[in-house]
Subunit: 136 residues, 2 copies
DNA sequence: CTGTATCCTTAGGGATACTG
DNA sequence: CAGTATCCCTAAGGATACAG
């Protein structure tokens, strides 16, 4: 992905991720794909944060055009579309894990399984490989 | 920080960071504090992304009330205010580093010193301690 | 220099109806 | 079920003037 003149603000790596993920919704879709094994449009709609259908469609498009996710036809059911992470999307996993750790530390309401947190601090590499192996 | 009813959407750790950092500006202030040694209002204003003064004031307030940054009077110059990261703010460093790696990998325009990237992959712990030691 | 305040415009996003 | 389309409103944010 290259910068387009529309949203280009700087050559900073922090700014670069903000151009794609600097909103309230986009990263939730990545989360659903990465940790919740969701693949279908309707499954994203059902998440707790209640994304609306027009926003979901918009973000799926943007994620696809930025190469973070890809679409495929469900071979079993032709009317269904399967969404999945590309390698670029999968590479967001370390960021997601650091976010999870930070929130777990600073938000008492954040709900993450204790054994996941423990595995993360003691055997991070295996958490990564296991998470990736579960992806569709 | 606890969730307030205003922006509460779920108990998900990913959502939790989005409630604070899910916009185009907030994380840039953290970046300036963490990597650019900026401490003054006017310095944030001068960043490449050109944040406007009302947005900057709003984000500084929100970051302070969420405990990520703190204010202090400049002892040399009473009319100046010094901003700095709290421990909670400093703990964002691993997230920032993962973001930097990802952007460096996927955006050819992203400008990060090569020796920083190399140090990050070969001696991450020392990058962390060195970055923290340079903080005001 | 460090903010506040105001005005104004645009983008984000909720609700909902509709289509294949 | 998987989206599109439309309507409408609010929040985000740019520009700029002003104040301590």
């Amino acid at each position: 992905m290259t910068h387009n003149s529309e949203n280009f603000r700087s050559n900073c790596p922090i700014n670069f991720v903000l151009e794609t993920f600097g909103d309230k919704w986009t990263l939730l879709i990545v989360r659903d794909l990465m940790f919740k094994s969701k693949q279908y449009y309707g499954e994203f709609l059902k998440s707790n944060e209640k994304i609306s259908t027009n926003i979901l469609a918009d973000r799926l498009q943007k994620l696809e055009s930025s190469g973070v996710i890809k679409k495929a036809m469900d071979t079993q059911n032709k009317s269904k579309v399967l969404y999945s992470l590309t390698d670029k999307g999968k590479d967001l996993l370390p960021i997601m894990l650091e976010i999870t750790s930070w929130s777990h530390k600073y938000d008492d309401k954040t709900n993450v399984p204790e054994n996941f947190i423990k595995a993360l601090s003691t055997n991070r590499a295996s958490v990564i490989s296991q998470t990736l192996s579960k992806l569709k």
